[in-house]
Symmetry: C2
Subunit: 417 residues, 2 copies
DNA sequence: ACTAATTTGTCAATCGCCATGACGAAATAG
DNA sequence: CTATTTCGTCATGGCGATTGACAAATTAGT
């Protein structure tokens, strides 16, 4: 995939580099006070605005872009020229004249330019996909593997072969991989490629970046985070402030505030699974008692339902519940109630505009929602908070990862001219 | 005819008006996709950077400012000239030469320029103060009044007389009030001056702005929010990510993320007092059961301690506990444990770098902390989270309000002509 | 004491980027 | 066929930061 790899190798893109200035108490420590504002920065931001406008609002003429982002037509012309020369935007030809006046020439983000590669390490599958700048999935591959307790090396090797497969297919279509984002079911240290712990994989302090060939800019993050970003970018009517709850084996949450992900000081935010629900409840491996996972975690629900852990546990639960199994329905009802109690705390604390259930929860939503909404509605004063179910379901994290790369290109189109 | 109307009617684009219409920014300028990036904006941001650098890091020479913010000395020179002409920065004279080379001339933010007025409506007091650009409190006035159940009109009238008193004093010293910020013990709707509800004052949907002469730019916000900002700006070794917990009558929290306050979609974030601790506990006026306030709220603690509500309840608790009253100590121990459980959820969810106890909690911290830390430490896996006590104590909200005005001047120095 | 070295603040010249206003081009309306 | 409207581009200008040079003020070295 290294056709133009050198071109992008130099610059660090994708926002991870920013911020985080150590606010050490010492006066001499904080050297830089934010980055200086120079004309190049202005240019970059305006290029980004053009990209976002064109990417988000279909084909657009230069004049329409200018009106939308508040610059003059002349300025937009030069910006668009630069983007076309960089292969990020292409001219589709004259617009259909529907109003009086000369028709503009339609612009769209390139379908041949850079593309984002998303990958996912699940507990029992691996997946990879390629998404182009327009947001279309151009290639995709999945493989069922039980990764429980498997060493990181072989897992990443397998994943890499999937990645090579999809990116080879994409390159044949003229796409150029611009970055790789990997979703993992575990905690990832902030601004790093290190999986601090992934209980279901039994990984600890694993530097995923060190296991991969350093061909592309890499991002590694929690699957719940990528799932939330997918909901933000691809969801039906996305509010910019919501709490995304997902469950694979553990229960994770991701909070989106003003269109940005809240990661926490160390990157560990979103551990909804270990919020205390019944403080004197059963012991939890985390050290606490009565954590949400003891009531709504996969294992707890299976046990309460009287089912043995099988191959596809979530599907098993769903089919049993759909068939009317009262044990299963009761277990899901209880899980929903526990979720509702934990979410009450979260909603009181964060005032999101909505709570979105993703991942396995979206599959089980029909049986979780009544008791969840009941607890939430009873306990929360005031206007309350909408509870919605994600359309994306289990695809969220993978799509979110690929789109994260695409967004990083939109955010800074001119990595290197 | 319709220059805008035709544009809208003709096209068939699926009007995806982005949700973020109500961006909190001061100037209207709500263009379609964020505001355009023009040279004036660059100038404004760089003026702001100079102001922040000079304000934060003591007297500084132009060269030092340039090195710190990454601009050239020449550019900083013109920026500083403009700030001096505007009366926001003043030249203190030649620096003491400690290194080789020509000594610079020290710059500091003006002590005679604009100043921020902070005011506070407490349940049993009113206060106002004036803070200059250097952060010094230049005037201050407090008055003990029992505001419980008093109508907003008279309360605001009394507060206004305090405000006039301090601002008259400040004007005699050459200060010019640049804005007014009022801290109230209740929920304030986002980007408004309306107190949606303040249970202890018995205010509902009260537009404080309408009760005040519109002399100055006004900000109204929750006292917990201002307290957290005070901690951020004035605290000992302030991390940029922390959870500030304060209690006056209710229990409020404010979350600071990357140096910014998280307000929530409606501005109601931080309702820690109504996080469920024991889901089947006693009923709470909010509608829930077993909310934190039922265990750690002022009333609950007084009841558990066997004390009658008196004049200064917090002080009463503190003196009894200090005297060794076992009933009081036990009540505070229980309250601390409940706080610890609620904070476990919050910390798991948000991963702050620290939890800071402010307001009345800082006074009672010696008796709350042991059980609080115990619960938190037992339940939270991983690196845990520091628990600190605010130095500011009850002064936090008032100082935070005044400083909020000062910060707004630093953030946009030329806006205040 | 005198010179060399270093740092500061400022000035003139230049470059980058966007705004302005005018123009030809391409469509519709009458 | 002409008037009107809108689009894209060009030349010009303004604004803001950079570059490079210089005088001023201080320390270091002999």
């Amino acid at each position: 995939m290294g056709r133009d790899g050198t071109e992008r190798g130099g610059t660090e893109r994708g926002g991870t580099e920013r911020g985080g200035t150590e606010r050490g108490g010492l006066p001499g420590a904080s050297r830089r006070e934010g980055l200086p504002d120079t004309q190049q920065g202005m240019r970059r931001r305006n290029l980004s605005r053009v990209m976002h406008a064109v990417a988000a609002n279909g084909p657009l003429s230069r004049a329409a872009v200018a009106a939308r982002i508040g610059l003059t037509r002349a300025a937009v012309s030069t910006l668009v020229d630069e983007l076309i020369r960089a292969g990020l935007v292409e001219e589709l030809g004259p617009e259909r004249p529907c109003r009086v006046g000369r028709p503009g020439s339609a612009l769209a983000v390139s379908a041949q330019g850079p593309a984002g590669i998303g990958a996912e390490v699940g507990v029992d599958h691996l997946a990879a996909c390629v998404v182009d700048l327009r947001g279309a999935v151009r290639a995709r591959a999945t493989r069922r593997v039980d990764n429980r307790g498997r060493a990181p090396g072989p897992v990443v090797t397998d994943l890499m072969s999937l990645i090579r497969q999809v990116s080879a297919g994409a390159e044949q279509e003229g796409l150029r991989p611009a970055g790789l984002a990997i979703a993992v079911p575990g905690l990832v240290a902030r601004d790093s490629h290190t999986v601090v712990r992934a209980p279901n994989l039994d990984w600890h302090d694993t530097d995923v970046g060190a296991l991969l060939p350093a061909e592309l800019p890499l991002v590694v993050d929690n699957e719940a985070n990528f799932g939330a970003l997918a909901e933000l970018w691809l969801g039906a009517a996305p509010p910019a402030d919501f709490l995304h709850v997902s469950a694979e084996v553990g229960i994770g949450a991701a909070l989106v505030v003003e269109g940005r992900l809240l990661r926490g000081a160390r990157g560990f935010a979103g551990e909804l699974g270990h919020v205390p629900v019944w403080p004197d409840g059963p012991k939890c491996p985390c050290g606490g008692r009565g954590c949400l996972e003891q009531y709504a975690g996969e294992e707890a629900v299976l046990r309460a339902a009287g089912l043995a852990p099988g191959a596809d546990r979530v599907e098993l639960l769903a089919t049993c519940a759909a068939a009317g199994d009262e044990n299963v329905r009761g277990a899901l009802r209880e899980a929903g109630a526990a979720l509702g109690i934990a979410l009450t705390g979260a909603v009181n604390l964060l005032d999101p505009r909505a709570v979105v259930l993703g991942g396995a929860l979206s599959r089980l939503a029909p049986w979780l929602l009544p008791s969840l909404r009941d607890e939430l509605g009873r306990r929360i004063a005031g206007p309350g908070c909408a509870v919605a179910v994600s359309r994306l379901g289990p695809d969220g994290p993978l799509l979110g990862a690929a789109h994260a790369v695409v967004r990083s290109v939109l955010d800074d189109p001119v990595g290197v001219a």
